[in-house]
C-alpha cells in the first residue's frame, strides 16, 4: 500500500515506464516524493525504494548526494543565491547578505512561518547574466542588492501562487545574458524543479 496520493502514483508509474531498468527512475521519483511531502522525508525515501526496487540506504545515497533534494523542511519559496566565481566577482556575496539581512533568514535556514528558505549555491549556469538568483529554481539575472531586498519583500507580501522567470526578471532582474528561447513551462509552485510532469502549471507557451 503506497503512502502516496493516487495522482502521484500514476505519475510514478508513468515515469518508471520510461526506463528499461526501473531503478533508473530513482531521481525523478525523489522529486515526486518531495512534491508529495514538501521535502524529502525518510518515509518518502522508503517509498521510492519500494517503487524502484532498491534499498532505502541506496535511495538515501542518491538523495544525499544532490543538494537539490531537500531532506529538511523547506519554505514555500526557496531563494538560491549564486556565489560561484562569475557571480562572486560581480557581487554575489553582497546579494546573499542582502537577502539574509532583509529576510532575517541565514543561508541554509527557513523562517518560522515556513515561507522563505535562503541558500547559497554553486554555479547555476547563468554566468553570462551574473549575478544570478533563483526562486524555486526559476532564474533571475543581473540582480542587485537593492533588487534582491525588493524580491524578498515581494515574496513576503504578494505570495504568488506560481513563481515565474519572466515575471521576476521583469520586476527584479537587470541585464539578461541573451534573449531566451521560449520558456518550457510557466513557472514553479514549490521548491522543486518545474519539469514535466511535476510542479507544472499550464502548458507550453505557444509563441
Amino acid at each position: 500500500m503506497s503512502i502516496w496520493s493516487e495522482e502521484t502514483q500514476v505519475r510514478a508509474k508513468e515515469i518508471i515506464s520510461r526506463y528499461p531498468e526501473k531503478r533508473s527512475a530513482v531521481m525523478p521519483l525523489l522529486y515526486l516524493a518531495m512534491a508529495e511531502d514538501g521535502y524529502l522525508t525518510d518515509e518518502g525515501m522508503e517509498e521510492v525504494a519500494l517503487w524502484v526496487g532498491i534499498t532505502p540506504a541506496q535511495v538515501r545515497s542518491v538523495a544525499s548526494f544532490y543538494t537539490m533534494y531537500k531532506r529538511e523542511k523547506t519554505g514555500r519559496y526557496l531563494v538560491s543565491c549564486c556565489t560561484s566565481i562569475s557571480c562572486m566577482l560581480l557581487g554575489g556575496d553582497d546579494i546573499l547578505h542582502a537577502v539574509e539581512d532583509e529576510s532575517g533568514v541565514p543561508h541554509g535556514e527557513t523562517d518560522d512561518e515556513g515561507l522563505l528558505s535562503v541558500e547559497h549555491v554553486e554555479c547555476i549556469g547563468a554566468c553570462g547574466g551574473a549575478p544570478a538568483v533563483q526562486v524555486n529554481y526559476e532564474l533571475i539575472e543581473g540582480v542587485t542588492s537593492e533588487k534582491a531586498r525588493d524580491l524578498v519583500n515581494w515574496l513576503r507580501s504578494a505570495r504568488p501562487e506560481v513563481v515565474n522567470t519572466d515575471e521576476m526578471q521583469e520586476l527584479f532582474g537587470g541585464v539578461r545574458s541573451f534573449d531566451w528561447a521560449v520558456s518550457e513551462v510557466d513557472g514553479a509552485i514549490g521548491p522543486y524543479p518545474a519539469f514535466q510532469p511535476l510542479g507544472t502549471v499550464g502548458t507550453e507557451v505557444g509563441e
Binding site: D42, T55, Q58, S64
Partner: protein, 808 residues
C-alpha cells in the same frame, strides 16, 4: 584456454592472460601493486587511486589505475619509477589528510593495509595541518558491526560486498564531498548474515566487529588454518586465539569452497567453545543427581553396563545416535565402536530430517561447489540456502548475478535467492510430488526448457519438515532424465554429516561408501573382525526401539535429538523410556540432562582431524586450544571404553586412525594428513585413488501425489536458532528471530492477524502462540514457522495447521 599476450612489467617480459587487469597480472607475476579498493573477488571501481602505474601510450607515458585497465599485447607497465612513486605518495598524503593516526587504539593496527602501505609507499610526512574530520565514535551499524566513520577511506569495498556478493545492500555512501560517509538508512540496520565480511575486507579500521573489538592485537594472536563446521560446505578459515581462547575467525580465500567469505555464523559462532557451561569432567547419575567423577571411574561404569546388557541381549540392544559433529577420525572410531564393541548396526548420524543415506553418501555425478560457476542452469529445490547453507547461497548468487547462470528456485516460500531467480515456483509443503509431476508433464514449459540445458546442477534437500524427504531424490531423478550433463548436490546440513556417513555412521553404511552386508569389503573384515551384516535401525527406529524396550542402551554422541528432531516429543519419550543413556557431549542439553553418564568431549578447534564436505571434499581441521578441563576427543573416549569392554578398537592416535581409514575405507584410499597439510591445502574430493562401492542412481520414489489445499504448515530452519551451540554463543543467539508465524497479507486479513500480535498455531504434534509477521514472501495458504526458536514450541511435520488470533 584463454589467449595470452606479451607485456613488460618493470622491464621484465611476461606472458599473461588476455583481458586480465594489470594489477592481477602483475600480482600473478610477483609484482605487488599497492591497492585499497580493489579486491580479487569483486568488480573493480577505481575508487582509491592507490594502484596508479605508468603505461607507455601513443601519447607518451601516462598514469592509469592498474585495477581498471586491462593488459594488452606489447604493453609496458612501470610500477616503481619516480612518477609512480610520486603519485603513490600523493595519494597516501591525501588519504591521510583526514584519516586519524589512532593506530595504537585501532583494532586494525598491525594488519592494516593503510598502515602497511603508508609505511611501504607513503611520503612519511604530511603537508596537511588542518583539523581532520570528526564523528561520533563508533556507531553500531548492526548488532555485530561498529563503524568509526572518520577512519573510512571511501574505498567502497563494504558497499560492493553487500551489493555484489551478499545481495543485501543496506549500507551505502551517504552525503558527498568532504562529508561523504558510509552509513545505513536511519533505523534500518545492516542486518546481513554476512556483515562480518565487511570487517575483514575494510582496508582500514572503519568497520570493526563487536565481539572482537579491543580484545587483542593481531601480532599477539596464534593462528591456525581450519574449516568452518556450521554447515556441510566447510568454508576455509583461519582461527585466531590468545592464551588458549579463540578470539576470532577470518575467512581464507580458496577457489574450492568459499572465496574467502564467511557467514556471520561461521565467523562469530565460536563463542560456545569458551562458554562457562562447557562440560569439564565426567558426570554420573547417582540418586537422581549428576555427580562429577574421574575418568577411570566413569569409563568403568559405562563398560560394565555395556558388558551386562551385551551378555543378556547382545548387540541388538544398543543404539547410537550422532557423530556428525566430530572429525572423520571420531566418526570412524564411533562406527567401529558400534560394530565391533557393541555389535550393532543401529547407528545413525542423521536426525530424521534427512535424505537417504545412500543418496547422500554415494550419489552418482555428485556436484562440486565450483560446478555452480560453470553451469548453464542451477535448480535449487531444497532448503532456503541463505538460512541453512549460507556459503552455497553466496556461490549460487554469484553464478546467477555475475556469471549469467539460469537459476530455478522451487520452495514453499520466497528464499534469499528469489531476487536473482530466472524462474521460481512456490508450493504448499506436502504438495511437492504433485508439482514435480506437473513439471514432468510439461505444465511449466519455461522450467522444462531451462532444465533441458547442457550443464545442469541440481541442489536437492528437504525444503520443509512438512515436506516429504523422499521428494529430493525424485527431483534429482527427473532432472537427470531431462538434461545433458547433470551434477547432483544432495544436501544435509549438520557439520560433518558427509564425513560421518562416509565413515559408516548410517544403519546401512560401512566406512568408505560401502553398504552393510556388501561383499568386497574384505580389508574391513580383516581389520575389524566380526560384525553384524544386516542393516540396523535409523534414528527414528532407534528411538522407537527405546520406547518399546527392544533397545536398552543409547549412546548419544554430540546429538540433541529432543531439539534437533522435527518431532522432539518422539525423542523425549524415547529417552524417558530408555534403560541406560550415555552421552558424549560439550554441554548438558535437553536430551542428555537426564542421562546416566555424561562424558565431556573436545569440540571444534580443540582437536585435529579430517572432515568431509557436501562435495565429498576432505579437508584438515586443526586444533588451537586444548579445550576445557578434562574434556577428551570422542575417539579416545570410545577407544578406552572398548578396551575395558574387551573388544578393543586398536586406535591410539588421531593420525593413525586416518591411516587406518585410508587402508580400510575404499573411497578414502590415499587420503592422509600429510597429503592435506602439504600438497592439497584446499582438500581433495574423494575418491582420489580408490573407488566407492555405492554408486547410487537417484530414482523417483513414491510420495503423496495430490497437491495440498488449505492452510499448510511450512517449518524450516533459520540461520540463528535455539540449537545447543547457538544457545552458548550469545552474540548470535540473540539474533534468532524467536517464535514467529509468517502469514501472507491475504491470509492475515482472513484470520484477523496483525503484525506482532500473537496467533495460536495448532498442528497434530504441537501447539503454541507465535507472533505474526505479515509478509509477501509467504504465499497464500502457507504458514511459515521458523524451527527451534528460543521460546517456541515444536510443531512437528504434519502439514495440516490451524491458525487463530489470540484474543486479549
Amino acid at each position: 584456454m584463454t589467449e595470452s599476450v606479451r607485456m613488460t612489467i618493470d622491464g621484465q617480459e611476461h606472458d599473461v592472460p588476455a583481458g586480465e587487469l594489470i594489477i592481477q597480472a602483475a600480482q600473478d607475476k610477483g609484482t605487488y601493486i599497492p591497492r585499497f579498493c580493489w579486491h580479487e573477488r569483486m568488480n573493480p571501481v577505481g575508487m582509491c587511486r592507490m594502484c596508479l602505474v605508468e603505461v607507455e601510450s601513443p601519447r607518451g607515458p601516462m598514469l592509469v589505475t592498474a585495477c581498471t585497465d586491462t593488459v594488452a599485447d606489447g604493453m609496458s607497465v612501470d610500477t616503481k619509477g619516480p612518477t609512480v612513486k610520486k603519485a603513490q605518495e600523493a595519494i597516501l598524503e591525501f588519504l591521510l589528510a583526514n584519516h586519524p593516526l589512532d593506530c595504537p587504539v585501532c583494532d586494525k593496527g598491525g594488519e592494516c593495509p593503510l598502515q602497511d602501505q603508508a609505511m611501504s609507499h607513503g611520503p612519511g610526512d604530511s603537508r596537511f595541518v588542518e583539523i581532520k574530520r570528526n564523528y561520533e565514535k563508533p556507531i553500531p551499524i548492526s548488532d555485530l558491526v561498529l563503524l568509526d566513520r572518520e577512519r573510512c577511506i571511501l574505498c567502497a569495498r563494504c558497499t560492493r560486498f553487500s551489493d555484489e556478493i551478499s545481495g543485501d545492500p543496506l549500507i551505502e555512501f551517504q552525503e558527498r564531498g568532504n562529508v561523504t560517509e558510509i552509513n545505513t538508512f536511519p533505523d534500518l540496520p545492516f542486518s546481513s548474515y554476512f556483515s562480518g565480511n565487511t570487517v575483514q575486507i575494510c582496508p582500514v579500521g572503519a568497520l570493526t566487529a563487536k565481539p572482537y573489538r579491543f580484545r587483542a592485537r593481531p601480532w599477539d594472536l596464534s593462528r591456525v588454518e581450519s574449516s568452518g563446521m556450521f554447515d556441510t560446505s566447510h568454508p576455509r578459515i583461519s582461527i585466531h586465539s590468545s592464551q588458549n581462547q579463540i578470539l576470532r575467525i577470518v575467512g581464507v580465500d580458496n577457489d574450492a569452497t568459499n572465496h574467502g567469505w564467511l557467514s556471520d555464523k561461521d565467523r562469530f559462532g565460536f563463542e560456545y567453545l569458551g562458554s562457562e557451561d562447557r562440560l569439564t569432567t565426567p558426570l554420573v547419575k547417582r540418586g537422581g543427581e549428576l555427580v562429577a567423577v574421574g575418568w577411570a571411574e566413569a569409563l568403568d561404569i559405562v563398560a560394565n553396563r555395556i558388558d551386562l546388557i551385551w551378555e543378556e541381549d547382545g548387540g541388538s540392544a544398543f543404539g547410537v545416535i550422532g557423530g556428525a559433529r566430530g572429525t572423520n577420525e571420531d566418526a570412524y572410531a564411533l562406527s567401529k565402536f558400534a560394530r565391533v564393541t557393541l555389535g550393532t548396526n543401529n547407528v545413525d548420524c542423521r536426525m530424521d530430517d534427512a535424505l537417504s543415506s545412500h543418496f547422500l553418501a554415494g550419489s552418482v555425478d555428485r556436484a562440486l561447489i565450483s560446478d555452480l560457476d560453470t553451469a548453464d542452469t542451477i535448480l535449487i529445490w531444497a532448503a532456503d540456502l541463505k538460512e541453512e547453507h549460507p556459503n552455497l547461497y553466496l556461490r549460487a548468487r554469484r553464478a546467477a548475478q555475475e556469471l549469467g547462470v539460469k537459476l530455478i528456485i522451487v520452495h514453499p516460500r520466497a528464499t534469499g535467492l528469489d531476487d536473482r531467480a530466472t524462474h521460481k515456483l512456490h508450493y504448499r509443503p506436502g504438495g511437492g510430488f504433485a508439482l514435480l509431476d506437473e513439471i514432468a508433464e510439461g505444465v511449466h514449459p519455461e522450467i522444462a526448457s531451462a532444465l533441458a540445458a547442457q550443464k545442469v546442477v541440481v541442489i536437492v534437500g528437504q525444503t520443509s519438515f512438512a515436506d516429504d524427504p523422499k521428494l529430493a531424490e525424485s527431483v534429482a531423478a527427473l532432472v537427470r532424465s531431462k538434461a545433458g550433463t547433470v551434477r547432483i548436490m544432495p544436501l544435509a546440513r549438520r557439520a560433518n554429516t558427509f564425513g560421518a556417513l562416509d565413515m559408516g555412521l548410517g544403519p546401512d553404511l560401512l566406512p568408505g561408501r560401502v553398504s552393510v552386508g556388501a561383499i568386497g569389503c574384505a580389508s574391513l573384515a580383516e581389520s575389524w573382525g566380526e560384525f553384524p551384516t544386516s542393516p540396523g535401525k535409523d534414528t527414528r527406529s532407534i528411538l522407537e526401539g527405546l520406547d518399546d524396550g527392544e533397545i536398552r542402551c543409547l549412546l548419544l554422541v554430540g546429538a540433541d535429538p529432543v531439539n534437533d528432531l522435527p518431532i522432539g516429543a518422539i525423542a523425549r519419550d524415547a529417552l524417558e523410556a530408555a534403560e541406560y543413556v550415555v552421552s558424549i557431549d560439550l554441554f548438558l542439553n535437553d536430551s542428555n540432562a537426564d542421562a546416566d553418564v555424561i562424558l565431556p568431549a573436545l569440540g571444534f578447534a580443540e582437536k585435529e582431524g579430517l572432515v568431509t564436505n557436501v562435495e565429498g571434499r576432505v579437508q584438515k581441521v586443526n586444533a588451537i586450544s586444548p579445550g576445557p578441563g578434562q574434556a577428551r576427543a570422542d575417539w579416545s573416549i570410545l577407544a578406552d571404553i572398548a578396551d575395558r569392554v574387551g573388544r578393543p578398537l586398536g586406535l591410539a592416535l588421531a593420525e593413525t586412525i586416518a591411516k587406518e581409514i585410508a587402508e580400510v575405507a575404499p573411497a578414502y584410499e590415499g587420503v592422509t594428513w600429510d597429503l592435506l597439510e602439504w600438497d592439497e591445502r584446499d582438500g581433495v574430493v574423494v575418491p582420489i585413488q580408490g573407488s566407492q562401492q555405492i554408486n547410487h542412481i537417484p530414482v523417483s520414489l513414491a510420495g503423496p501425489r495430490a497437491p495440498r489445499a488449505g492452510l499448510t504448515l511450512h517449518v524450516a530452519r533459520t540461520l540463528y536458532d535455539d540449537g545447543v551451540l547457538m544457545r552458548h554463543s550469545p552474540s548470535l543467539h540473540r539474533l534468532a528471530p524467536g517464535p514467529l508465524v509468517h502469514l501472507n497479507p491475504e491470509d492475515a486479513r482472513r484470520l484477523g492477524a496483525q503484525g506482532g500480535r500473537p496467533m495460536r498455531v495448532v498442528t497434530k504434534h504441537g501447539e503454541g502462540d507465535f507472533a505474526a509477521v505479515i509478509d509477501e514472501d509467504t504465499p497464500e495458504g502457507v504458514v511459515f514457522v521458523p524451527f527451534n526458536q528460543p521460546g517456541g514450541v515444536s510443531l512437528g511435520t504434519d502439514p495440516v495447521v490451524r491458525v487463530t488470533a489470540v484474543s486479549g
